[in-house]
């Protein structure tokens, strides 16, 4: 077992003390550029890094830049692990629930890993960068979890989180913009990888993202991050491309039907009871296991997952909920109020009922969607109710009391433009 855990974060272009903070909130490798662009002076903390909520006064303006032109997002705070060695594929095939053997070199795969009771620990994207080399991303620290399970395999795992800067370029103009710099992106398929150079610096470009739109992510060694940012920024001038922050990202990802850890589900690792645990089937990821019958892997959680599928013991099914606009307007109208239609996502629990007033689920992310012109929610309902068009009710607080408003179940993602995969 070879373990290598080098934390290179302090080699970031701006050391934390430069910012004058006592707390060790770190800048990302792009901070000198993102901080110059952030007109609000406000930052969130994301995985111990400074992340812009928005760059100017309107998150919705940034949102529309992504849906109508393109936006640039600094996604560097993600955890990143390089997993390499002769047994890397074998190792990951046993660790990850989705079959990583279906991900050839030059491709990426959205995946999840489970505990032995079949509950989700986390989700992430794994890139197959070279025959014996993978790069796995995650939202929270997982180094110990993976490292401790290497055993006698010929695998090295390295935390490269701070060695790599990542810029997401998302939106209908992302291909036009990136192809000026990395021409091969024009032929890179959805979840494909390609190598190229930006401003003389080698980069890897993946056709991935968290917006549900046509989009790419650019991966660069941290010391070269600013050179790449500048190259990208120069190429973006005049194209209507804006930097966007977390607030716009959260809007985009709900429309895209992409779940957020600690909002739409929790890691089973740290849950106190099963109400805070979810299986991948419950989260709507059964598509990951279509080939399960023909796949002979022993992976963590396999038996529990098979039992759940065979015995139909799933408690929930993640679904898209669309609020009935007429009923919503009626409820607020009758109270003498202007029906609020707020684009900013609310990441809280919303109760879901059936027609008889029985609680049949709960929603975890809610917003007014500009591209759908409806209130939408990511929510889980009882599996027997997870049918397209199924009528349910969502509970709102109107004038300080609860009101139920009609809603119905739709297929996820809510917004799925052809260009995303075309």
């Amino acid at each position: 077992m070879h373990l290598k855990h080098r934390d290179a974060r302090d080699s970031s272009p701006v050391a934390p003390w430069v910012l004058g903070f006592r707390l060790m909130i770190r800048p990302t490798p792009f901070h000198p550029r993102t901080s110059a662009l952030n007109e609000t002076g406000l930052w969130s903390h994301w995985a111990g890094h400074l992340a812009a909520n928005r760059y100017q006064e309107s998150d919705k303006f940034e949102y529309f830049a992504v849906r109508s032109a393109a936006g640039i997002f600094d996604t560097s705070p993600l955890y990143k692990y390089r997993i390499a060695g002769r047994d890397a594929e074998r190792f990951l095939a046993g660790m990850l629930a989705r079959d990583v053997r279906d991900c050839p070199v030059g491709h990426a795969q959205y995946t999840t890993w489970l505990d032995d009771r079949g509950f989700v620990l986390e989700d992430g994207v794994v890139q197959h960068r070279a025959p014996d080399e993978y790069l796995l991303t995650s939202a929270e620290p997982n180094f110990g979890y993976f490292a401790d399970r290497i055993g006698r395999l010929e695998v090295q795992i390295e935390d490269v989180s701070s060695q790599i800067g990542t810029i997401a370029v998302q939106g209908p103009r992302s291909r036009q913009l990136l192809s000026k710099l990395v021409p091969s992106v024009t032929s890179t398929p959805f979840f494909g990888l390609t190598d190229g150079e930006i401003a003389g610096v080698p980069v890897t470009v993946s056709r991935t993202g968290y917006t549900g739109d046509l989009g790419y992510e650019v991966w660069v060694d941290a010391p070269d991050a600013l050179t790449v940012w500048d190259g990208l920024w120069d190429a973006a001038q005049g194209l209507g491309v804006l930097p966007f922050g977390l607030a716009a990202l959260y809007m985009l990802r709900i429309e895209a039907g992409l779940l957020l850890l600690a909002v739409d589900f929790d890691s089973s690792r740290y849950a106190f009871n099963d109400a805070h645990r979810s299986t991948p089937i419950e989260l709507g990821w059964s598509w990951m296991f279509k080939g399960l019958a023909d796949d002979d892997r022993a992976f963590i959680g396999r038996h529990a997952l098979e039992r759940e599928i065979a015995d139909k013991t799933s408690r929930w099914r993640m679904s898209g909920l669309v609020v009935d606009w007429e009923d919503y307007d009626r409820v607020y109208g009758e109270a003498g109020l202007i029906p609020p239609k707020v684009h900013a996502p609310v990441h809280e629990d919303w109760m879901v009922y059936d027609g008889a007033g029985q609680r049949v689920g709960y929603a975890t992310s809610f917003m007014y969607s500009p591209v759908l012109q409806r209130h939408i929610a990511l929510g889980r309902v009882r599996p027997d109710l997870a049918k397209i068009g199924q009528r349910v009710q969502l509970e709102f607080t109107v004038d300080h009391h609860y009101e139920k408003v009609a809603a119905h179940v739709v297929r996820l993602p809510f917004f799925n433009p052809e260009r995303k995969t075309a």
Binding site: Q56, E57, S58, K60, F61, F64, R67, S68, A69, R173, Q237, G238, L239, G240, W325, E326, I338, P339, P340, K341, V342, H343, Y368, P370, V371, L372, Q373, R374
Partner: protein, 531 residues
């Protein structure tokens, strides 16, 4: 089953014709929409007048569009996208300005900079307007009841409106009446002291109308322009992806998805009738098309005086339509620009251009601009509602370059001792030199200019006298009086012949309500579908 291929023919592929045709097709009628031009949209079109530069020739922004239409016609499936205008900018030539963003607190600070008094006045004004709009808005979605009818249903509907008004608090009731009958200036003077702020707010009270801010009637225009919403936000305006032409393309796709057929390049010469019943239309090329329902999306003058023989109609209707005020006063001057204009007080900043740019530094400025129109001439210093739309939708212009739409007032249709063919380019020069005073060097940015006078509006898309609302938004021609007493319910004296244009209730702007409400009436009347 009728042997004719169509149940309904809609004359005019403007937004109301498209909305109407889409609803009729959705209701099961085999529907044909006829458009004289080679592009649908009527006044809501976007044209590539210079390679890579897309001009919103006429109509340029969206707010009053009824949300029901978005949902019922499933417009989001066809690309409906109301892009946010994140800024509003009202400059003076002296370097004073108001710049509103999406940040509420910052906007109040911006007003405080000019007048501490007006900051909370602005809050109060916003709240009071919201309350009035809340009360008035339901009228936009109802067929006006007929006060001349003895039908109990009509009387009940009238009583319903009465009881709704009675349920308002006194302040809201009074504000509503003041807006409906008074001037924008009187209303705004009660709230604000800042000239710049008042000029800005009063601008919404004159748009498209031959009134000054101090004229009775401008209150109604002000209220009308506040009744909309965008993206669920009360009173806010948006810029549709691809301009308003982008929006009407969405409408056309929706109409076709419901089964409506759209035929371009088809000018309707007249409506065919037999024994008081519409039977179809005759095209300019002599083709006759038959259907039991014929709907005119054109303005009342064309609907009643040109498409049919007025002798087939009651005298009082003909007389009222002849008297109807059109008197267009608005023009468009559209520019292709090589860069963004420079406002010296804000250095090289350009973020303030992400939305409306209001050239009306005071109420007096607007009133003086109106003075010229009263005497048959165009304003030497016009009111301009500008929008550099490519700052919001970069697909409208090549990288780094821009299109700028300028709505200009006042430019009366009837000029004293001249005509618009003679004055067109001089109007363009007037607008350009006005902008030059605010943005020195503006002229150097101009790559191309398009001047669209009321005469051009009438010639190109057929709106009488170039009135953008298909008939003035004046109280005597509103609600159950639009377009004429007794004929506000989208029917006409000719059986099977209907009206659905902006000359019917509720009126103009890209609202779609006339098209939708008319379709409801046609389908209620049986639509003579598949009989």
């Amino acid at each position: 089953m009728s042997s004719e291929p169509y149940d309904a023919i809609v004359i005019g592929g403007g937004h109301n014709g498209l909305v109407n045709g889409a609803y009729l097709a959705r209701g099961g009628l085999r529907t044909l929409i006829l458009e004289q031009r080679e592009v649908v949209g009527g006044a809501a079109i976007t044209e590539e007048l210079r390679p890579g530069f897309w001009f919103t020739t006429f109509s340029y922004a969206l707010s009053l569009l009824r949300p029901q239409i978005i949902h019922e016609l499933e417009l989001t499936k066809h690309g409906f996208m109301p892009l946010l205008m994140s800024s509003k900018f009202a400059p003076t030539p002296e370097g004073e300005y108001l710049w509103f963003t999406q940040h509420h607190d910052q906007n109040l600070r911006e007003i405080e900079r000019i007048s501490p008094h007006d900051a909370d006045a602005y809050e109060q004004y916003g709240h009071d307007m919201d309350r009035v709009c809340q009360a008035i808005k339901p009228l936009l979605d109802m067929v006006p009841p007929d006060p001349f009818s003895d039908d109990p249903e009509e009387l009940l509907a009238l009583a319903g409106i009465g009881s709704r008004l009675r349920s308002l608090d006194k302040r809201t009731f009074h504000n509503a009446i003041r807006l409906l009958t008074g001037s924008a200036a009187d209303f705004l003077d009660d709230y604000f002291e800042s000239d710049l702020l008042k000029g800005w707010m009063a601008s919404s009270g004159i748009i498209g109308s031959k009134v000054g801010p101090r004229s009775q009637g401008s209150g109604l225009v002000l209220l009308y322009h506040s009744l909309g919403e965008s993206d669920g936000e009360f009173g806010s305006w948006a810029f549709h992806k691809g301009g308003n032409g982008g929006f009407t393309q969405v409408l056309a796709r929706a109409a076709e998805a419901f089964g409506a057929e759209i035929r371009l390049g088809s000018t309707v010469e007249r409506v065919l009738t037999r024994e008081g019943q519409a039977t179809g239309v005759a095209l300019a090329d002599g083709t006759e098309l038959h259907a039991k329902v014929v709907v005119s999306a054109l303005d009342p003058r064309r609907t009643f005086l040109e498409l049919v023989d007025p002798r087939e109609l009651p005298d009082d209707l003909v007389e009222t339509v002849r008297r109807m005020k059109f008197q267009g006063v608005s023009s468009k001057v559209n520019f292709a620009l090589s860069g963004t204009p420079r406002y010296p007080a804000l250095g090289d900043g350009s973020d303030m251009f992400r939305g409306f740019l209001n050239i009306a530094p005071s109420m007096d400025y607007l009133e003086r601009a109106y003075d010229a129109a009263k005497y048959g001439w165009y304003s030497p210093e016009p009111y301009i509602d500008g929008a550099i739309q490519s700052t919001i939708d970069p697909d409208m212009a090549p990288p780094g370059q821009h299109v700028m739409s300028c709505f200009v007032q006042y430019t009366p249709y009837q000029l004293r001792e001249s005509d618009w063919d003679a004055e067109r380019e001089r109007l363009g020069d007037t607008v350009q030199s006005t902008l030059e005073r605010y943005f020195p060097g503006f002229g150097d940015l101009v790559l191309q200019r398009e001047v669209v006078t009321p005469l051009d509006i009438e010639r190109t898309i057929g709106l009488s006298e170039g009135n953008i609302f298909a008939g003035e938004l004046l109280a005597p021609q509103m609600f159950f009086l639009r377009p004429a007493p007794g004929w506000s319910q989208y029917r006409t004296p000719i059986q099977g012949y209907y009206q659905c244009g902006s000359g019917t209730h509720p009126g103009g702007c890209v609202m779609g309500a006339p098209g939708r409400l008319a379709a409801g009436q046609i389908l209620k009347d049986g639509g003579t579908a598949h009989d």
